[in-house]
């Protein structure tokens, strides 16, 4: 697909409208404590059913990008990081707010997010098509190892590794419910008509992310009111200062990009690594935890860089890099689009419009973020008593509208109850989603590999490791796991430092 056709697809009023709306929704849901980009995407899923796939996808991409930035608003203004990811921003941004420099902190946040976002999306554009072309050579053995790589999330999450393993196994188990596509036999359906068609990813996401989260938000008191007295500062002053720290921006953006590329690893790791690195390398006289802008620049550049790069494994290999990209994968399935290397052959229009359209989401985020700063304090005034019921009924509709199935609604509610209990038991929910998405991919390729190995009269393991490519992939998976465990160790140290401070 040539660049002219892509631009023609992109520069239409509907695309601009959708991208700006997506980013705005993302910023708002990201800024409200208790909500996040994943919930925003889940809620707006039904809207995408009536859109062209590439436009729907850009709406979700916009929410993802905006949500990543939105989390920093509460962190800076009221010292409430909506997510662990925003904790370092709170450490540096809130002291600036206390000094009457909230606007300056928000400018640092938005413009660093912009630079990080651009780095991530450039990697997305440059790396995805060649990786997809390369992945076309993959057989069942290689695809089996690639999909296994997504399970690295177990090693990447902070907290109990046993519980992360439990969550991912639970997700894989959920994916086996229904009619087995290979033999046609029913598994764990208990003669229920609803279970025969399996449990799709969207009710699982809505149950675990929306219902569970909202149940636990019931009874939460309103946030502290924002003290918004501000010193004047121009946008250009902040941009110039960020550009004078371009090495920090590039380094943090690249850390975010590389970590985002690892399937299932997540943003937290990237943010804490970048923040810790900035803390060691900063040349400013201002101490950290007292409003050093370098902390904001590093954390925000890394944060938004993961958005683009986490989509690379999803688009090129069909392996979601984060829970949010798993939801986006679910949305594409609804449109009948198969993710992975064949996407660029079968639907280049969708793939390339999305890749280049993600640049627009960065532009939209920057414009909305830079202009809307004075209105952000209003977002924080939205009361939880209005948010919780609204999210619940929208999620109820979302669960139904996927397949017009009331059974999906029931599944979402049951998983919501289970998800809330899991959260209280410190069982992470994201690996469940990853497991549900990767389950069919792992099983199908394992079954294919077994069939081929059987036909060739060779043991399965011998077939799986027959080609240099599959051997290389196994080595890569092991290396990635070791790297992730090492990074996790570093993250723990960085998080400990933040907590102590």
């Amino acid at each position: 697909m040539d660049i002219f056709s892509i631009l023609l697809n992109l520069f239409t009023p509907s695309v601009f409208l959708v991208v700006f709306a997506g980013v705005l929704v993302g910023i708002v849901v990201g800024a409200i404590p208790g909500l996040n980009g994943a919930i925003g995407i889940s809620l707006l899923l039904p809207l995408t059913f009536t859109m062209e796939p590439q436009i729907g996808l850009l709406l979700l991409g916009g929410i993802y990008m905006g949500g990543m930035y939105g989390g920093s608003i509460t962190a800076i203004l009221i010292n409430v990081p909506g997510d662990v990811v925003a904790a370092p921003v709170a450490m540096e941004g809130y002291p600036l707010t206390q000094q009457g420099r909230a606007k300056e902190a928000l400018y640092y946040s938005i413009f660093s997010s912009m630079f990080g976002g651009f780095i991530g999306v450039l990697v997305l554009i440059l790396f995805t098509p060649p990786l997809a072309r390369f992945a076309l050579q993959f057989g069942p053995a290689e695809m089996f190892f690639v999909s296994l790589s997504g399970l690295i999330i177990v090693g990447a999450l902070s907290g109990s590794i046993l519980k992360a393993a439990l969550a991912v196994l639970l997700g894989l188990f959920i994916s086996t419910v229904g009619v087995d596509m290979i033999t046609g036999s029913e598994r764990f359906t208990f003669d229920s008509l609803g279970l025969r068609s399996g449990i799709s990813v969207v009710p699982v996401v809505l149950g675990l992310f929306c219902f569970a989260e909202m149940f636990l938000n019931i009874g939460k008191k309103p946030s502290e009111q924002v003290q918004y007295r501000d010193q004047k500062i121009s946008r250009m002053t902040v941009i110039k200062d960020i550009l004078s720290q371009r090495f920090l921006v590039w380094k943090s953006g690249l850390i975010g990009t590389v970590v985002g590329l690892l399937p299932g690893v997540g943003t937290t790791l990237a943010v804490f690594m970048s923040y810790g690195d900035a803390k060691r390398a900063s040349r400013r006289d201002i101490p950290f935890e007292q409003g050093n802008p370098d902390g904001i620049i590093a954390a925000e550049s890394a944060n938004n860089a993961t958005v683009g790069s986490s989509m690379v494994p999803l688009l090129a290999l069909g392996v979601p890099g984060s829970p949010t990209s798993a939801i986006i994968a679910g949305a594409l399935v609804i449109h009948g689009i198969v993710l992975g290397p064949s996407l660029f052959v079968n639907r280049p229009d969708v793939a390339f419009t999305f890749l280049y359209g993600m640049l627009l989401t960065v532009v939209a985020m920057t414009i909305i973020g830079a202009i809307g700063i004075k209105y952000f304090s209003y977002i924080l005034k939205i009361k939880m008593e209005y948010i919780v019921p609204t999210v619940l009924v929208f999620a109820l509709f979302g669960a139904y509208s996927l397949r017009n199935s009331l059974f999906d609604v029931f599944i979402a509610i049951i998983l919501g109850i289970a998800g809330a209990i899991f959260k209280k038991m410190h069982v992470p929910l994201a690996p469940i989603i990853i497991g549900v998405v990767l389950g069919p991919l792992i099983e199908t390729n394992l079954a294919r590999a077994m069939r081929i190995a059987g036909a060739r009269n060779m043991p399965l393991w011998e077939y799986l490791l027959a080609t240099p490519l599959s051997k290389g992939l196994v080595a890569l998976v092991v290396i990635m796991l070791l790297v992730v465990i090492r990074m996790r160790h570093k993250e723990k140290i960085a998080a400990k430092e933040v907590k102590n401070a």
């Binding site: 188990f173 033999t183 009924v393």
Partner: protein
């Protein structure tokens, strides 16, 4: 998601207990589901069996971990802390999970019988009121009921306008709507 605070002894107690319960449930469920796979053709049973083996092992490890922690803590921790942790966990289980979950199931029942929009109005009204009640029971007064009714009506109307009229998406229908 909010930041978690550093674990207190009470949390450790609660976690030990919840790990034990979780481990037992996971182990028993994996045995139950494994037995369901025995009638399946080998090819269909293989992948779920691998997963269920994994789940059973995780279950056993969770039980083992909880028992080890329990032995370590039993000497140090006060019984009072355990009781407090149990009360805290039960409070969350009942008021933050079971009650809203129950309300959702009632709304689901209404969805089947009277249709999506009346069920939505019910859900918005009850959750709004319940949220206010959880903050402070004294919030439940006439003004709150009126606000809840208005809010439920506005949200339901908005959803009807957007999903049904504007986007033409089908909503579950029932006897009333």
């Amino acid at each position: 998601m909010m930041l978690t605070v550093a674990p207190l002894p009470t949390n450790a107690c609660a976690q030990m207990l919840s790990n034990l319960i979780l481990g037992v449930i996971v182990l028993l469920s994996s045995i139950f589901f494994y037995l369901q796979t025995t009638d399946l053709p080998d090819r269909s049973a293989l992948f779920p069996q691998y997963i269920l083996w994994g789940l059973a092992i995780v279950g056993v490890l969770l039980i083992f971990q909880a028992l080890l922690e329990g032995r370590k803590k039993a000497a140090k921790e006060e019984l009072e802390a355990r009781r407090e942790a149990r009360v805290q966990f039960n409070d969350i289980l009942i008021f933050q999970v079971m009650v809203p979950g129950g309300l959702m199931l009632v709304a689901y029942g209404l969805l089947l019988s009277v249709g999506f929009y009346p069920a939505s109005a019910f859900l918005v009204f009850t959750i709004y009121s319940y949220h206010a009640f959880r903050i402070d029971a004294e919030n439940l007064n006439r003004a709150l009921w009126v606000r809840a009714v208005i809010f439920a009506f506005v949200i339901t109307l908005f959803m009807y306008l957007v999903f049904t009229l504007l986007l033409g998406l089908p909503a579950p229908s029932g006897a009333l709507f």
